[in-house]
Protein backbone atom coordinates (compact mmCIF):
# COMPACT_ATOMS: atom_id res chain seq x y z
CA UNK A 1 0.00 0.00 0.00
CA UNK A 2 2.74 2.36 0.96
CA UNK A 3 4.58 1.55 -2.24
CA UNK A 4 1.44 2.17 -4.28
CA UNK A 5 0.94 5.54 -2.65
CA UNK A 6 4.56 6.40 -3.29
CA UNK A 7 4.13 5.41 -6.93
CA UNK A 8 0.98 7.53 -7.21
CA UNK A 9 2.81 10.48 -5.71
CA UNK A 10 5.67 9.91 -8.09
CA UNK A 11 3.27 9.78 -11.06
CA UNK A 12 1.71 13.04 -10.01
CA UNK A 13 4.95 14.85 -9.36
CA UNK A 14 7.48 13.35 -11.75
CA UNK A 15 7.38 16.45 -13.89
CA UNK A 16 8.64 18.48 -10.96
CA UNK A 17 11.84 16.60 -10.25
CA UNK A 18 12.97 14.58 -13.25
CA UNK A 19 15.99 12.29 -12.82
CA UNK A 20 17.39 12.53 -16.35
CA UNK A 21 17.34 14.80 -19.37
CA UNK A 22 15.07 12.34 -21.12
CA UNK A 23 12.64 12.32 -18.23
CA UNK A 24 12.79 16.10 -18.13
CA UNK A 25 11.82 16.50 -21.77
CA UNK A 26 9.17 13.79 -21.53
CA UNK A 27 7.77 15.61 -18.54
CA UNK A 28 7.03 18.48 -20.89
CA UNK A 29 6.17 16.68 -24.12
CA UNK A 30 3.95 14.03 -22.58
CA UNK A 31 2.14 16.36 -20.24
CA UNK A 32 -0.99 18.07 -21.56
CA UNK A 33 -0.57 21.11 -19.32
CA UNK A 34 3.08 21.62 -20.24
CA UNK A 35 3.19 20.51 -23.88
CA UNK A 36 3.10 24.13 -25.12
CA UNK A 37 6.49 24.75 -23.51
CA UNK A 38 9.81 23.80 -25.11
CA UNK A 39 11.69 21.05 -23.28
CA UNK A 40 14.70 23.31 -22.76
CA UNK A 41 14.65 27.01 -22.11
CA UNK A 42 17.49 29.45 -22.70
CA UNK A 43 18.99 31.09 -19.63
CA UNK A 44 18.50 34.50 -21.28
CA UNK A 45 14.81 33.92 -21.80
CA UNK A 46 14.46 32.65 -18.26
CA UNK A 47 16.22 35.68 -16.75
CA UNK A 48 14.22 38.32 -14.88
CA UNK A 49 15.92 41.23 -16.60
CA UNK A 50 15.11 40.72 -20.28
CA UNK A 51 11.33 40.47 -20.37
CA UNK A 52 10.56 41.39 -16.75
CA UNK A 53 8.03 38.54 -17.13
CA UNK A 54 5.36 41.08 -18.00
CA UNK A 55 3.51 38.70 -20.33
CA UNK A 56 3.47 35.99 -17.67
CA UNK A 57 2.22 38.51 -15.10
CA UNK A 58 -0.60 39.53 -17.48
CA UNK A 59 -1.56 35.87 -17.92
CA UNK A 60 -1.49 35.35 -14.12
CA UNK A 61 -3.70 38.43 -13.66
CA UNK A 62 -6.10 36.98 -16.23
CA UNK A 63 -6.26 33.72 -14.26
CA UNK A 64 -6.94 35.65 -11.03
CA UNK A 65 -9.61 37.71 -12.82
CA UNK A 66 -11.24 34.60 -14.26
CA UNK A 67 -11.39 32.87 -10.86
CA UNK A 68 -12.58 35.86 -8.81
CA UNK A 69 -14.95 36.80 -11.63
CA UNK A 70 -16.43 33.31 -11.72
CA UNK A 71 -17.20 33.52 -8.00
CA UNK A 72 -18.67 37.02 -8.35
CA UNK A 73 -20.95 35.72 -11.11
CA UNK A 74 -22.74 33.58 -8.53
CA UNK A 75 -23.73 36.56 -6.42
CA UNK A 76 -24.23 39.32 -8.98
CA UNK A 77 -27.64 40.02 -10.53
CA UNK A 78 -27.54 41.57 -14.03
CA UNK A 79 -30.65 43.71 -13.76
CA UNK A 80 -30.77 47.49 -13.60
CA UNK A 81 -33.08 47.25 -10.60
CA UNK A 82 -30.99 44.77 -8.62
CA UNK A 83 -27.42 45.08 -9.92
CA UNK A 84 -26.43 47.93 -7.62
CA UNK A 85 -27.95 46.28 -4.56
CA UNK A 86 -26.34 42.94 -5.36
CA UNK A 87 -23.04 44.87 -5.43
CA UNK A 88 -23.88 46.28 -2.00
CA UNK A 89 -24.56 42.71 -0.86
CA UNK A 90 -21.21 41.58 -2.24
CA UNK A 91 -19.52 44.37 -0.29
CA UNK A 92 -21.43 44.00 2.97
CA UNK A 93 -23.21 40.65 3.22
CA UNK A 94 -21.38 38.01 1.18
CA UNK A 95 -18.59 36.53 3.32
CA UNK A 96 -15.33 37.98 1.97
CA UNK A 97 -17.32 39.35 -0.96
CA UNK A 98 -15.64 42.75 -0.57
CA UNK A 99 -12.26 41.06 -0.84
CA UNK A 100 -13.22 39.15 -3.99
CA UNK A 101 -14.52 42.28 -5.66
CA UNK A 102 -11.57 44.41 -4.59
CA UNK A 103 -9.13 41.78 -5.82
CA UNK A 104 -11.01 41.53 -9.12
CA UNK A 105 -10.97 45.30 -9.58
CA UNK A 106 -7.31 45.67 -8.62
CA UNK A 107 -6.26 42.80 -10.88
CA UNK A 108 -8.19 44.44 -13.73
CA UNK A 109 -6.43 47.76 -13.24
CA UNK A 110 -3.04 46.07 -12.91
CA UNK A 111 -3.69 44.06 -16.05
CA UNK A 112 -4.26 47.21 -18.13
CA UNK A 113 -0.97 48.63 -16.80
CA UNK A 114 1.05 45.41 -17.13
CA UNK A 115 -0.17 44.66 -20.67
CA UNK A 116 0.78 48.23 -21.60
CA UNK A 117 4.28 47.82 -20.14
CA UNK A 118 4.56 44.47 -21.92
CA UNK A 119 3.91 46.33 -25.19
CA UNK A 120 6.52 48.92 -24.23
CA UNK A 121 9.06 46.14 -23.50
CA UNK A 122 8.36 44.48 -26.86
CA UNK A 123 8.88 47.81 -28.60
CA UNK A 124 12.15 48.70 -26.89
CA UNK A 125 13.61 45.24 -27.56
CA UNK A 126 12.45 45.29 -31.22
CA UNK A 127 10.62 42.04 -30.57
CA UNK A 128 7.94 42.79 -33.18
CA UNK A 129 10.17 42.37 -36.23
CA UNK A 130 10.14 39.85 -39.08
CA UNK A 131 8.29 36.65 -38.19
CA UNK A 132 7.20 38.12 -34.85
CA UNK A 133 4.96 40.69 -36.54
CA UNK A 134 1.95 38.37 -36.21
CA UNK A 135 2.47 38.06 -32.50
CA UNK A 136 2.74 41.86 -32.32
CA UNK A 137 -0.71 42.09 -33.96
CA UNK A 138 -2.17 39.40 -31.70
CA UNK A 139 -0.69 41.26 -28.73
CA UNK A 140 -2.27 44.54 -29.80
CA UNK A 141 -5.61 42.77 -30.19
CA UNK A 142 -5.16 41.38 -26.64
CA UNK A 143 -4.36 44.89 -25.34
CA UNK A 144 -7.53 46.29 -26.94
CA UNK A 145 -9.53 43.36 -25.54
CA UNK A 146 -8.06 44.01 -22.07
CA UNK A 147 -9.28 47.62 -22.26
CA UNK A 148 -12.73 46.57 -23.51
CA UNK A 149 -12.94 43.95 -20.75
CA UNK A 150 -12.07 46.56 -18.19
CA UNK A 151 -14.66 48.94 -19.59
CA UNK A 152 -17.46 46.36 -19.81
CA UNK A 153 -16.57 45.32 -16.25
CA UNK A 154 -17.11 48.68 -14.68
CA UNK A 155 -20.47 49.08 -16.40
CA UNK A 156 -21.86 46.12 -14.43
CA UNK A 157 -22.25 47.71 -10.92
CA UNK A 158 -24.76 50.16 -12.48
CA UNK A 159 -23.65 52.98 -10.22
CA UNK A 160 -23.05 56.58 -11.27
CA UNK A 161 -19.58 55.75 -12.61
CA UNK A 162 -21.02 52.92 -14.73
CA UNK A 163 -23.95 54.94 -16.00
CA UNK A 164 -22.03 58.01 -17.07
CA UNK A 165 -19.05 56.06 -18.40
CA UNK A 166 -21.44 54.15 -20.65
CA UNK A 167 -23.18 57.39 -21.64
CA UNK A 168 -19.87 58.99 -22.64
CA UNK A 169 -18.44 55.88 -24.34
CA UNK A 170 -21.54 55.24 -26.44
CA UNK A 171 -21.65 59.00 -27.11
CA UNK A 172 -18.17 58.65 -28.62
CA UNK A 173 -19.36 55.67 -30.73
CA UNK A 174 -22.27 57.80 -31.96
CA UNK A 175 -19.81 60.40 -33.30
CA UNK A 176 -18.59 57.95 -35.93
CA UNK A 177 -19.69 59.25 -39.34
CA UNK A 178 -22.59 57.46 -41.12
CA UNK A 179 -23.10 54.45 -38.79
CA UNK A 180 -22.41 56.14 -35.46
CA UNK A 181 -26.01 56.37 -34.22
CA UNK A 182 -26.73 52.81 -35.43
CA UNK A 183 -23.72 51.45 -33.54
CA UNK A 184 -24.81 53.28 -30.39
CA UNK A 185 -28.33 51.87 -30.84
CA UNK A 186 -27.01 48.32 -31.25
CA UNK A 187 -24.60 48.63 -28.29
CA UNK A 188 -27.27 49.96 -25.95
CA UNK A 189 -30.12 47.90 -27.36
CA UNK A 190 -32.18 51.09 -27.56
CA UNK A 191 -31.94 54.85 -27.55
CA UNK A 192 -31.39 55.17 -23.80
CA UNK A 193 -29.33 53.23 -21.28
CA UNK A 194 -31.46 50.48 -19.83
CA UNK A 195 -31.86 46.79 -19.09
CA UNK A 196 -30.92 45.72 -22.61
CA UNK A 197 -27.69 47.75 -22.38
CA UNK A 198 -26.71 46.12 -19.08
CA UNK A 199 -27.34 42.59 -20.31
CA UNK A 200 -25.32 43.26 -23.48
CA UNK A 201 -22.29 44.38 -21.50
CA UNK A 202 -22.81 41.53 -19.03
CA UNK A 203 -22.56 38.94 -21.80
CA UNK A 204 -19.65 40.76 -23.47
CA UNK A 205 -17.77 40.91 -20.17
CA UNK A 206 -18.45 37.38 -18.99
CA UNK A 207 -18.38 35.34 -22.15
CA UNK A 208 -17.60 37.01 -25.45
CA UNK A 209 -14.49 39.04 -24.58
CA UNK A 210 -12.86 36.48 -22.21
CA UNK A 211 -13.41 33.74 -24.81
CA UNK A 212 -11.64 35.88 -27.41
CA UNK A 213 -8.81 36.52 -24.95
CA UNK A 214 -8.38 32.79 -24.29
CA UNK A 215 -8.28 31.99 -28.02
CA UNK A 216 -5.84 34.80 -28.81
CA UNK A 217 -3.73 33.90 -25.76
CA UNK A 218 -3.37 30.34 -27.09
CA UNK A 219 -2.35 31.74 -30.49
CA UNK A 220 0.06 34.17 -28.78
CA UNK A 221 1.79 31.29 -26.95
CA UNK A 222 1.84 29.06 -30.02
CA UNK A 223 3.43 31.81 -32.09
CA UNK A 224 6.17 32.38 -29.49
CA UNK A 225 7.19 28.76 -30.03
CA UNK A 226 6.94 29.01 -33.82
CA UNK A 227 8.93 32.27 -33.79
CA UNK A 228 11.76 30.61 -31.90
CA UNK A 229 11.09 31.84 -28.35
CA UNK A 230 11.55 35.29 -26.90
CA UNK A 231 13.35 37.84 -29.07
CA UNK A 232 16.58 37.39 -27.07
CA UNK A 233 16.86 33.97 -28.75
CA UNK A 234 17.56 35.73 -32.06
CA UNK A 235 20.64 37.28 -30.46
CA UNK A 236 21.73 33.91 -29.13
CA UNK A 237 21.33 32.28 -32.56
CA UNK A 238 23.25 35.15 -34.12
CA UNK A 239 26.10 34.88 -31.60
CA UNK A 240 26.45 31.08 -31.59
CA UNK A 241 25.87 30.38 -35.28
CA UNK A 242 29.49 31.02 -36.22
CA UNK A 243 30.82 28.61 -33.58
CA UNK A 244 28.47 25.75 -34.44
CA UNK A 245 28.53 23.15 -37.18
CA UNK A 246 25.76 24.23 -39.55
CA UNK A 247 22.61 22.17 -39.55
CA UNK A 248 22.24 19.75 -42.45
CA UNK A 249 20.01 21.48 -45.01
CA UNK A 250 18.00 18.32 -45.64
CA UNK A 251 17.33 17.62 -42.00
CA UNK A 252 14.22 19.14 -40.52
CA UNK A 253 13.28 19.27 -36.89
CA UNK A 254 9.69 20.25 -37.29
CA UNK A 255 6.49 19.31 -39.12
CA UNK A 256 7.59 15.66 -39.31
CA UNK A 257 9.75 16.27 -42.36
CA UNK A 258 6.99 17.79 -44.45
CA UNK A 259 8.98 20.95 -45.09
CA UNK A 260 12.44 21.26 -46.50
CA UNK A 261 15.34 23.10 -44.92
CA UNK A 262 15.31 24.27 -41.35
CA UNK A 263 12.88 26.43 -39.47
CA UNK A 264 13.62 28.96 -36.78
CA UNK A 265 12.46 26.42 -34.24
CA UNK A 266 15.01 23.93 -35.47
CA UNK A 267 17.71 26.57 -35.29
CA UNK A 268 16.63 27.33 -31.74
CA UNK A 269 16.73 23.73 -30.58
CA UNK A 270 20.08 23.25 -32.33
CA UNK A 271 21.93 25.91 -30.40
CA UNK A 272 20.52 25.16 -26.94
CA UNK A 273 22.92 23.07 -24.90
CA UNK A 274 24.04 22.63 -21.30
CA UNK A 275 25.99 25.89 -21.36
CA UNK A 276 23.20 28.28 -22.32
CA UNK A 277 19.96 26.57 -21.33
CA UNK A 278 18.22 24.60 -18.60
CA UNK A 279 15.38 22.08 -18.44
CA UNK A 280 11.93 23.63 -18.65
CA UNK A 281 10.71 21.32 -15.93
CA UNK A 282 11.27 22.34 -13.20
CA UNK A 283 13.13 25.60 -13.97
CA UNK A 284 10.53 27.44 -16.06
CA UNK A 285 7.51 25.88 -14.36
CA UNK A 286 8.86 26.85 -10.94
CA UNK A 287 9.36 30.46 -12.00
CA UNK A 288 5.86 30.64 -13.49
CA UNK A 289 4.46 29.31 -10.22
CA UNK A 290 6.50 31.93 -8.37
CA UNK A 291 5.22 34.74 -10.62
CA UNK A 292 1.64 33.51 -10.12
CA UNK A 293 2.18 33.48 -6.37
CA UNK A 294 3.67 36.98 -6.25
CA UNK A 295 0.95 38.38 -8.54
CA UNK A 296 -1.75 36.83 -6.37
CA UNK A 297 -0.17 38.25 -3.23
CA UNK A 298 0.15 41.69 -4.84
CA UNK A 299 -3.53 41.83 -5.82
CA UNK A 300 -4.55 40.48 -2.43
CA UNK A 301 -2.47 43.05 -0.54
CA UNK A 302 -3.82 45.89 -2.69
CA UNK A 303 -7.37 44.62 -2.14
CA UNK A 304 -6.82 44.41 1.62
CA UNK A 305 -5.14 47.80 1.87
CA UNK A 306 -7.43 49.69 -0.52
CA UNK A 307 -10.84 48.02 -0.83
CA UNK A 308 -12.63 49.47 -3.84
CA UNK A 309 -15.73 51.56 -3.39
CA UNK A 310 -19.02 52.03 -5.10
CA UNK A 311 -20.56 55.31 -6.21
CA UNK A 312 -24.20 56.26 -5.74
CA UNK A 313 -26.80 54.23 -7.65
CA UNK A 314 -27.14 55.19 -11.32
CA UNK A 315 -29.19 58.38 -11.63
CA UNK A 316 -30.01 59.25 -15.25
CA UNK A 317 -31.01 62.80 -14.27
CA UNK A 318 -27.84 63.85 -12.48
CA UNK A 319 -24.33 63.77 -13.89
CA UNK A 320 -21.69 63.70 -11.12
CA UNK A 321 -19.49 66.82 -10.93
CA UNK A 322 -16.89 66.03 -12.17
CA UNK A 323 -17.71 62.77 -13.98
CA UNK A 324 -14.37 61.04 -14.36
CA UNK A 325 -13.61 57.76 -16.06
CA UNK A 326 -11.12 55.32 -14.44
CA UNK A 327 -7.52 56.50 -14.80
CA UNK A 328 -6.67 54.42 -17.87
CA UNK A 329 -9.45 56.14 -19.84
CA UNK A 330 -8.75 59.66 -18.64
CA UNK A 331 -6.33 60.39 -21.49
CA UNK A 332 -9.21 59.70 -23.90
CA UNK A 333 -11.61 61.77 -21.82
CA UNK A 334 -9.05 64.59 -21.77
CA UNK A 335 -8.63 64.30 -25.55
CA UNK A 336 -12.38 64.42 -26.21
CA UNK A 337 -12.58 67.53 -24.03
CA UNK A 338 -9.82 69.49 -25.76
CA UNK A 339 -9.88 68.51 -29.43
CA UNK A 340 -13.11 70.10 -30.68
CA UNK A 341 -12.14 72.31 -33.58
CA UNK A 342 -14.01 74.91 -35.57
CA UNK A 343 -13.52 75.03 -39.33
CA UNK A 344 -15.41 77.96 -40.77
CA UNK A 345 -18.85 77.89 -39.20
CA UNK A 346 -18.77 74.13 -38.55
CA UNK A 347 -17.50 72.40 -35.45
CA UNK A 348 -16.00 68.93 -35.44
CA UNK A 349 -16.67 67.31 -32.09
CA UNK A 350 -13.84 66.25 -29.80
CA UNK A 351 -15.82 63.03 -29.46
CA UNK A 352 -14.89 62.23 -33.06
CA UNK A 353 -11.34 63.64 -33.07
CA UNK A 354 -10.17 62.72 -29.57
CA UNK A 355 -12.39 59.67 -29.11
CA UNK A 356 -12.10 57.98 -32.50
CA UNK A 357 -9.60 59.59 -34.91
CA UNK A 358 -6.58 59.97 -32.56
CA UNK A 359 -6.88 56.46 -31.02
CA UNK A 360 -7.47 55.17 -34.57
CA UNK A 361 -4.24 56.82 -35.74
CA UNK A 362 -2.35 55.28 -32.80
CA UNK A 363 -3.76 51.85 -33.68
CA UNK A 364 -2.83 52.32 -37.33
CA UNK A 365 0.70 53.38 -36.33
CA UNK A 366 1.07 50.17 -34.31
CA UNK A 367 0.00 48.15 -37.36
CA UNK A 368 2.33 49.80 -39.89
CA UNK A 369 5.31 50.38 -37.55
CA UNK A 370 6.99 46.99 -38.17
CA UNK A 371 7.11 47.89 -41.88
CA UNK A 372 8.50 51.37 -41.27
CA UNK A 373 11.20 50.00 -38.98
CA UNK A 374 14.49 50.01 -40.88
CA UNK A 375 16.83 49.00 -38.05
CA UNK A 376 19.19 46.05 -38.68
CA UNK A 377 18.52 42.50 -37.53
CA UNK A 378 21.16 42.86 -34.81
CA UNK A 379 18.74 45.16 -32.98
CA UNK A 380 16.22 42.36 -32.39
CA UNK A 381 16.19 41.18 -28.80
CA UNK A 382 18.38 44.01 -27.47
CA UNK A 383 17.14 46.70 -25.10
CA UNK A 384 17.54 50.22 -26.58
CA UNK A 385 19.74 49.17 -29.51
CA UNK A 386 21.70 52.19 -30.71
CA UNK A 387 20.32 51.94 -34.27
CA UNK A 388 16.82 52.43 -32.91
CA UNK A 389 17.35 55.66 -30.99
CA UNK A 390 15.12 57.81 -33.22
CA UNK A 391 12.14 55.49 -33.21
CA UNK A 392 12.57 54.79 -29.51
CA UNK A 393 12.40 58.53 -28.85
CA UNK A 394 9.25 58.91 -31.01
CA UNK A 395 7.63 55.97 -29.22
CA UNK A 396 8.63 57.36 -25.80
CA UNK A 397 7.11 60.74 -26.68
CA UNK A 398 3.81 59.10 -27.65
CA UNK A 399 3.77 57.06 -24.40
CA UNK A 400 4.70 60.09 -22.28
CA UNK A 401 1.97 62.15 -23.98
CA UNK A 402 -0.62 59.52 -23.04
CA UNK A 403 0.74 59.26 -19.49
CA UNK A 404 0.78 63.08 -19.08
CA UNK A 405 -2.83 63.31 -20.25
CA UNK A 406 -3.72 60.64 -17.67
CA UNK A 407 -1.92 62.59 -14.92
CA UNK A 408 -3.70 65.81 -15.93
CA UNK A 409 -7.01 63.98 -15.98
CA UNK A 410 -6.51 62.35 -12.58
CA UNK A 411 -4.98 65.20 -10.59
CA UNK A 412 -5.66 68.47 -12.40
CA UNK A 413 -9.27 68.36 -13.53
CA UNK A 414 -11.97 69.51 -11.18
CA UNK A 415 -15.64 70.38 -11.41
CA UNK A 416 -16.79 71.10 -14.99
CA UNK A 417 -13.43 69.78 -16.21
CA UNK A 418 -11.74 73.04 -15.22
CA UNK A 419 -8.02 73.02 -14.63
CA UNK A 420 -6.82 73.00 -11.00
CA UNK A 421 -3.30 72.42 -9.73
CA UNK A 422 -3.12 69.42 -7.40
CA UNK A 423 -2.61 71.74 -4.41
CA UNK A 424 -5.59 73.92 -5.28
CA UNK A 425 -8.86 73.02 -3.62
CA UNK A 426 -12.03 72.55 -5.63
CA UNK A 427 -15.00 74.86 -5.03
CA UNK A 428 -17.96 73.44 -3.14
CA UNK A 429 -20.39 71.80 -5.52
CA UNK A 430 -24.08 71.38 -4.79
CA UNK A 431 -25.11 67.74 -4.59
CA UNK A 432 -28.56 66.76 -5.70
CA UNK A 433 -28.85 63.40 -4.03
Amino acid sequence: MKERLLLLWRNLTWTWAPDSNRQASEAVVKNFWLHWFPSRISLRGLGWGFSFWLGTISACLFVILALTGLLLLFVYIPSIRDAYWSMKDIDNVVVFGWLLRSQHRWAAQLMVAVVFFHLVRVFFTAAYRDQRVWNWYIGIALFVLTIFLSFSGYVLPWDQLAYWALTIATGIAAELPFFGEDIRFALLGGNILGQSSLIRFFVLHNFFLPALVVILFALHMWRIRKDGGLACMDRLIHETKSKKIPVSPTKTYSLLGVTEGTTIQAATTEILDESNSVRTSPNLTRRIALVLLVTTIATLVLALAFPVGLEEPANPAVTPIPAKAPWYFLWLQELTAITTIKIGGKSISGGLIGGIIIPGILGLLAVVWPFLDRSPKEAIGVWFHKTRNTQNIVFTIICLAVISLIIIGVYMRGPYWKFYWPWQSWPEMPTLF
Binding site: W164, T167, I168, T170, G171, I172, A174, F185, A186, G189, G190, N191, I192, G194, Q195, S196, P316, A317, V318, T319, P320, I321, P322, A323, Q333, T336, A337, I338, T339, T340, S347, I348, S349, G350, G351, G355, P415, Y416, W417, K418
Partner: protein, 154 residues
Protein backbone atom coordinates in the same frame (compact mmCIF):
# COMPACT_ATOMS: atom_id res chain seq x y z
CA UNK B 1 -23.02 18.19 -79.40
CA UNK B 2 -21.03 15.23 -78.15
CA UNK B 3 -21.38 13.97 -74.61
CA UNK B 4 -17.77 14.78 -73.77
CA UNK B 5 -17.97 18.46 -74.67
CA UNK B 6 -21.07 18.89 -72.61
CA UNK B 7 -19.74 17.30 -69.38
CA UNK B 8 -17.05 19.79 -68.40
CA UNK B 9 -19.10 23.02 -68.37
CA UNK B 10 -21.88 21.34 -66.42
CA UNK B 11 -19.49 20.16 -63.75
CA UNK B 12 -17.87 23.59 -63.71
CA UNK B 13 -21.25 25.28 -63.40
CA UNK B 14 -22.36 23.03 -60.54
CA UNK B 15 -19.07 23.58 -58.72
CA UNK B 16 -19.23 27.37 -58.94
CA UNK B 17 -22.94 27.39 -58.21
CA UNK B 18 -22.42 25.21 -55.15
CA UNK B 19 -19.62 27.41 -53.76
CA UNK B 20 -21.60 30.59 -54.35
CA UNK B 21 -24.64 29.03 -52.71
CA UNK B 22 -22.63 28.10 -49.61
CA UNK B 23 -21.16 31.62 -49.31
CA UNK B 24 -24.58 33.27 -49.83
CA UNK B 25 -26.17 30.95 -47.29
CA UNK B 26 -23.46 31.69 -44.71
CA UNK B 27 -23.87 35.44 -45.19
CA UNK B 28 -27.64 35.15 -44.95
CA UNK B 29 -27.28 33.14 -41.74
CA UNK B 30 -24.80 35.65 -40.29
CA UNK B 31 -27.03 38.55 -41.28
CA UNK B 32 -30.04 36.91 -39.67
CA UNK B 33 -28.09 36.13 -36.51
CA UNK B 34 -26.69 39.65 -36.22
CA UNK B 35 -30.17 41.12 -36.72
CA UNK B 36 -30.96 39.76 -33.27
CA UNK B 37 -28.87 42.63 -31.89
CA UNK B 38 -31.21 45.26 -33.28
CA UNK B 39 -34.22 45.65 -31.00
CA UNK B 40 -37.55 45.63 -32.84
CA UNK B 41 -39.60 46.84 -29.89
CA UNK B 42 -38.38 49.45 -27.42
CA UNK B 43 -39.67 49.49 -23.88
CA UNK B 44 -38.63 53.07 -23.47
CA UNK B 45 -40.61 56.12 -22.42
CA UNK B 46 -42.12 57.83 -25.50
CA UNK B 47 -40.38 60.84 -27.02
CA UNK B 48 -43.67 62.77 -26.96
CA UNK B 49 -45.11 63.29 -23.49
CA UNK B 50 -47.10 65.60 -21.23
CA UNK B 51 -45.13 67.77 -18.83
CA UNK B 52 -47.93 69.61 -16.96
CA UNK B 53 -50.16 72.65 -17.21
CA UNK B 54 -48.87 76.21 -17.89
CA UNK B 55 -49.53 77.22 -14.28
CA UNK B 56 -47.15 74.48 -13.05
CA UNK B 57 -44.23 76.48 -14.39
CA UNK B 58 -43.15 79.64 -12.61
CA UNK B 59 -41.54 82.57 -14.36
CA UNK B 60 -37.96 81.73 -15.36
CA UNK B 61 -36.44 78.29 -15.74
CA UNK B 62 -37.71 74.95 -14.47
CA UNK B 63 -35.63 71.79 -14.74
CA UNK B 64 -37.43 68.49 -15.30
CA UNK B 65 -34.83 65.89 -14.27
CA UNK B 66 -36.77 62.82 -15.40
CA UNK B 67 -37.03 64.27 -18.93
CA UNK B 68 -33.68 66.12 -18.94
CA UNK B 69 -35.46 69.30 -20.12
CA UNK B 70 -35.42 72.96 -19.18
CA UNK B 71 -38.78 74.77 -19.45
CA UNK B 72 -38.42 78.53 -19.94
CA UNK B 73 -41.29 80.85 -19.15
CA UNK B 74 -41.46 84.57 -19.71
CA UNK B 75 -44.99 85.83 -19.19
CA UNK B 76 -47.19 83.96 -21.65
CA UNK B 77 -44.31 82.64 -23.76
CA UNK B 78 -42.83 79.18 -23.23
CA UNK B 79 -40.02 77.25 -24.79
CA UNK B 80 -38.20 73.99 -24.10
CA UNK B 81 -34.43 73.42 -24.24
CA UNK B 82 -32.86 69.99 -23.89
CA UNK B 83 -30.42 69.51 -20.98
CA UNK B 84 -28.41 66.91 -22.90
CA UNK B 85 -24.96 68.21 -23.84
CA UNK B 86 -24.22 67.94 -27.56
CA UNK B 87 -20.66 66.78 -26.88
CA UNK B 88 -21.10 63.34 -25.31
CA UNK B 89 -24.66 63.37 -23.92
CA UNK B 90 -24.06 64.28 -20.26
CA UNK B 91 -26.67 66.39 -18.42
CA UNK B 92 -25.92 70.10 -18.14
CA UNK B 93 -26.51 72.23 -15.02
CA UNK B 94 -28.14 75.65 -15.03
CA UNK B 95 -26.06 78.27 -13.27
CA UNK B 96 -28.48 80.99 -12.29
CA UNK B 97 -25.85 83.59 -11.35
CA UNK B 98 -23.87 83.28 -14.59
CA UNK B 99 -27.07 82.56 -16.58
CA UNK B 100 -25.29 79.75 -18.41
CA UNK B 101 -25.49 75.97 -18.74
CA UNK B 102 -22.43 74.03 -17.59
CA UNK B 103 -21.69 70.45 -18.58
CA UNK B 104 -20.00 68.55 -15.77
CA UNK B 105 -18.36 65.93 -17.98
CA UNK B 106 -16.05 67.96 -20.17
CA UNK B 107 -16.72 71.56 -19.29
CA UNK B 108 -18.88 72.72 -22.20
CA UNK B 109 -20.67 76.01 -21.54
CA UNK B 110 -23.92 77.02 -23.25
CA UNK B 111 -25.52 80.44 -23.10
CA UNK B 112 -29.09 80.95 -21.96
CA UNK B 113 -30.46 80.40 -25.48
CA UNK B 114 -28.56 77.11 -25.81
CA UNK B 115 -25.74 78.39 -28.02
CA UNK B 116 -22.44 76.56 -27.45
CA UNK B 117 -20.22 79.24 -25.93
CA UNK B 118 -17.16 77.43 -24.60
CA UNK B 119 -15.67 73.97 -24.29
CA UNK B 120 -15.83 70.96 -26.59
CA UNK B 121 -19.55 70.99 -27.46
CA UNK B 122 -19.83 71.18 -31.26
CA UNK B 123 -23.51 72.20 -31.52
CA UNK B 124 -26.04 74.30 -29.56
CA UNK B 125 -28.50 72.60 -27.20
CA UNK B 126 -31.66 71.32 -28.93
CA UNK B 127 -34.92 73.21 -28.75
CA UNK B 128 -38.07 71.08 -28.83
CA UNK B 129 -41.61 72.04 -29.92
CA UNK B 130 -44.47 72.49 -27.45
CA UNK B 131 -48.16 71.92 -28.05
CA UNK B 132 -51.32 71.51 -26.04
CA UNK B 133 -53.03 68.23 -25.24
CA UNK B 134 -56.88 68.34 -25.14
CA UNK B 135 -56.76 68.21 -21.33
CA UNK B 136 -54.78 71.46 -21.14
CA UNK B 137 -51.35 69.88 -20.50
CA UNK B 138 -48.25 70.87 -22.42
CA UNK B 139 -46.91 68.20 -24.75
CA UNK B 140 -43.19 68.14 -25.62
CA UNK B 141 -41.91 66.23 -28.63
CA UNK B 142 -38.21 65.50 -28.05
CA UNK B 143 -38.13 63.60 -31.35
CA UNK B 144 -38.46 66.94 -33.17
CA UNK B 145 -36.31 70.03 -33.06
CA UNK B 146 -37.29 73.65 -33.63
CA UNK B 147 -35.34 76.76 -34.50
CA UNK B 148 -33.78 78.77 -31.73
CA UNK B 149 -36.08 81.60 -30.52
CA UNK B 150 -39.19 79.53 -31.15
CA UNK B 151 -41.81 80.59 -28.64
CA UNK B 152 -45.09 78.94 -27.72
CA UNK B 153 -47.46 81.67 -26.55
CA UNK B 154 -50.58 80.89 -24.60
Amino acid sequence: MSEKEDKVPRRFFLEVFGKVAVVVALFAEAFGALKAFIPQVLYEPPSKFKIGKPDDFPEGITFLPEHKLYIFRSGRGFHVVSAICTHLKCVTDWNSSQREFYCSCHGSVFSENGANAEGPAPRPLSWHPLSFAPDGNFVVDTGKKVERYYKFTI
